[in-house]
Every structure is written in structure tokens, then in C-alpha cells.
């Protein structure tokens, strides 16, 4: 995702500002970009949301269908998350099968939702061992301007919270909203040399040495983490990043509620 080259001038500028606690777009180091969420954007989907984090723009659709459960979880629904980095979203995205970047992104978003038990999957069981609801989270990246991890996660959470299970069409009683029980919020911090920046912009992300995504729930407990890129973090930095994720997450969570 970060194949474009950042000029040395920009690198120096971003770092010089960051080391004095400032950023190119005027944000504080621990301040995310403005998030706006538009729910129910696509009527053909069971639930959907368009999330804009700064200029990063993504669209998430939830589709539900009836299928077989996995043999080792016979009484829980199935969750499947995919991300498409479509070529229109960035000059560096290419058509074709998902590359490792997109796979990691989808799996990290999936992990936040799955591990926080946001949706009570046991309530999506129709007949144990035979029939359960399968929930597809399909994420379309429309405009890539940095930090897809958080944008996709916010979009997915918002879309899930607006989804209605189409039980009537399937001949299974009345439609019902997805059983939402928790509110995971993912907060990604990038590290440039020795500076930590929350919600990296495109330039910040492209010159970052390390990245750490922390998903916390409404109690501030940690539900998922993923470190990325080839840089490293000290244990103290990891702790600081988690504390920031808890704090920033508290600010973002209300924006994801209906």
C-alpha cells in the first residue's frame, strides 16, 4: 500500500514538525482526523456505511445469507470479512487477487469485530449443526488517503450496527437487527523515527517505520492488536500507544452508534 515515494523535503518537514509536537495538517500528535459516518448508504445491502476519515473514504456493505456452520462451532453464525483495494482508490492499487496488504487489513478488521464479540454470533444460529446466518462484511476502499485500518474498522462497525437480518425473505420469521453487544474501536498509531502519531495521514503512513493497531472495547479492555511495518517499538511505547488508543477510542465510539 505504500509504494509511492515521499520526497526528502516532505520527510524532513513531517519529521521536523512532529518532533516539536505538530503535524502538517495542524493536528496534535494524538488527534485523529475528522470522522464522518453515513449509515444505510446502499439499500441493496442488509446494512451499510460510508465512512470518511479525513479524505480516506470507504464503503462497507453487510450481506446476510443462510448457510452451514463450521463443524467446530455448530451453534454460532459465520463471519467473513474481505477488503477490496480497487484501482480507482489509489495509483498504487492494482486489479487482481488480494495482495498480502489487503489480506492483513481484512483480517485485522475481522479480528477486532470477532474478538470483541461485537455481534452475538450465537444468536445467529438457526438450527444447530445445520443452518446459521452467514454474515459477509465487504469493504470497498474508494479513496485511500492513509490509515485504512481504522477507516475500514469504523465503517464495518457502523455498517453492522445498522444491519437488519432479512429473516422474512428466508421464511424464518420477522426481520431483526443484528444482536450488537459491544463497540470495538480500532486506533492505529504510526511511528516515524522516535515520534508516535495517531491516525497517520497518507504521507505520514508512507514514511512510517512502524505501525500498531489497538482495538479496545467500551470498557477500555484490549480486544485485538496488530503491529506492522519493519520498525520496532519499545515496551514503553507499546504501553503509551495502548493508553492513547483507549482515550482516542472513547472519543470515536459515540460516532459509530446509531
Amino acid at each position: 500500500m505504500s509504494e509511492e515515494i515521499v520526497s526528502e523535503l516532505m520527510r524532513a518537514h513531517v519529521y521536523r514538525l512532529a518532533s516539536s509536537g505538530q503535524r502538517v495538517d495542524g493536528r496534535a500528535l494524538d488527534e485523529p482526523r475528522k470522522l464522518s459516518v453515513e449509515r444505510s448508504f446502499v439499500k441493496t445491502a442488509e446494512g451499510s456505511a460510508r465512512a470518511k476519515l479525513g479524505n480516506t473514504d470507504i464503503l462497507v456493505g453487510i450481506k446476510m445469507s443462510v448457510g452451514e456452520p463450521y463443524p467446530d462451532t455448530p451453534n454460532t453464525g459465520v463471519l467473513s470479512t474481505s477488503v477490496e483495494l480497487i484501482p480507482m482508490a489509489s495509483p498504487t492499487f492494482e486489479a487482481g487477487p488480494p495482495r498480502p496488504d489487503a489480506i492483513e487489513l481484512a483480517r485485522v478488521v475481522d479480528r477486532g469485530i470477532r474478538e470483541s464479540k461485537m455481534v452475538n454470533m450465537e444468536k445467529l444460529c438457526i438450527t444447530p449443526k445445520e443452518k446459521v446466518w452467514i454474515m459477509f462484511i465487504d469493504i470497498h476502499v474508494l479513496d485511500y488517503d492513509g490509515n485504512l485500518f481504522d477507516a475500514c474498522s469504523y465503517g464495518a462497525v457502523a455498517a453492522l450496527s445498522s444491519a437488519i437480518v432479512p429473516a422474512k425473505n428466508a421464511g424464518l420469521g420477522d426481520d431483526f437487527p443484528l444482536p450488537i453487544e459491544h463497540w470495538p474501536v480500532s486506533v492505529t498509531t504510526a511511528k516515524i523515527k522516535d515520534v508516535l502519531l495517531v491516525d497517520p495521514s497518507l504521507d505520514e503512513e508512507r514514511m512510517a517505520d512502524g505501525r500498531l493497531t489497538v482495538t479496545t472495547d467500551e470498557n477500555g479492555d484490549i480486544r485485538a492488536m496488530q503491529k506492522g511495518l519493519s520498525g520496532s517499538f519499545s515496551y514503553d511505547e507499546v504501553k503509551r500507544i495502548i493508553e492513547t488508543a483507549q482515550r482516542v477510542g472513547r472519543g470515536i465510539r459515540p460516532l459509530l452508534h446509531t
Partner: protein
Amino acid sequence: MEDVEHIEKGMKLIRADGRRLDGRKPDELRPIRIEAGVLRRADGSSYIEWGGNKVLSAVYGPREAHPRHLQDPARALVQCRYNMAPFSVSDRKRPGPDRRSVEISKVISEAFSAVVFSEQFPRTSVDIFIEVLQADAGTRCAGLTAASVALADAGVPMRDLVTSCASGKIDGVVCVDLNKDEDNFGDADCPMAIVPRTGEVVLLQMDGHLTYDEFQKAMDLSIGATRRIYEMQRDALRRRYSVTLEDILKEPAPAAQREEAEPPLSQDDFGPEGM
């Protein structure tokens, strides 16, 4: 369904005496055995047995990166391929990369990129192969720990070895190095990898449910465990490469050695067909 429910809800993972089902204490690792230099063709290799895990690792390179358009004119690519053999798990795994192994390959590549002196080898790739032959939870940590030894065995310049271990939570107790059952029925799993000399965290993942305090406890357990594993890695390399005075004395004198190595040909050296 009742069976599964029984296991999920009723299975206790911590015994009354505070030990785990396999008898370990919360901070106790499974037995680990590492061997360096186990493959002939690879530039470096190693084999690790970690509890029920059996993992082989090989390193090739630095060698010319292919395809060429992937080459980086400034540094070597550090590329890892983590793969599970179809017979390594109880239900046969379909051969080839799945999404899980693509992700694991990526995070392990990134972890090693942090320590390999890649600027010394522009346009090349350092290819790390991890084959899980038998899996029992914690394969990425075992694979990473083994690959680190294989990199050293290949003579790839690095700032330090990388050492990996996971901690998690089972029955509400934070424990190090979860086994299969503990991983399946536990509450959280948090694999990490560290550069022991500097304490830098180069791999960190987590899934499940940990409070901030529990996370710190898990990290402390993992860091303690990596110190022990680091010694085992170094020991494997020492066993492979150390030369003792005894070895030197045992070696025959150069002249005698040449004679022993190449005895004069005789008629008996050729088979009945005269070849």
C-alpha cells in the same frame, strides 16, 4: 452439539492446584529443542521442537531478487514464506497459502526486516522458509524462533537474533506459551517477538480479551520467556559452530589426513562392469 458445548463451557484449563492441564505452572514453557544447520542445500537452516510443534526453517540468500521488478536498489528484501503441511493439523489443511499464512508470512518478514542489515545487499532478497510439519499452537513463534537461528546459520548479518513467544489468558489466568487446547478454549492469545539485546518489540499481535493490566502481565511473562529461549537459540548455534580444544587435538595431522581422505585407487574401486 452437546459435546462441543460441554467442552466449551465445562472444560477447566487450570487445575485445583493452580497448574495447567499439562502440569505446567503459568510461567512455564513447554520443552524446546533447537538444532542449527539441519539441511544440506539451504544457506542456513534449523529445526525446532517446541511442545508438540515441529517446525523446519531454511534461509537462502542474500541472492538476486526475482521477479526483478521487486528488487529494491537500496536494500535487500526480507521475504518469509510460512507454510503448514497438509498433515500438520488434525483436519487436513488444503495445501498452499491461505489468508492466515499470508498474514503470518507478512508479519514475520517485517519482524526480520527490523534486524537484518539489508542496506548491505541492494537488489537481493533474503528468503526465509518456515515449514510447519506438526502443529500444536504457537507455530508462528516457533517458526520465527527457528528462522532466526537459520538466518544466523546462513551468516546473514543481523543486529541480533529475534526471539518469539506468546502469552495468553486461560480461565482468567495469564499464562505463557499456550498449547492447542489452551489456545482453542482460552480467552486471549498475544504472540510477540523481541530483539533480546535491545528489548525492541518487532512483532505484536493479540486477539481475545485482556485488560490493560493483564496485557502488561502477559508481556512481562513473554519477555521473561524470550530470555530463556534466546539462550537456547545461542546454544544451538554454539553446538553447531563451536570448536573445542579437544576437536582440534582429535584432528589428524594434515599429511595423514590427505592420505586417509584419498586412498590410492585399486582395481576394487571399479564394479564388475569395469565402471
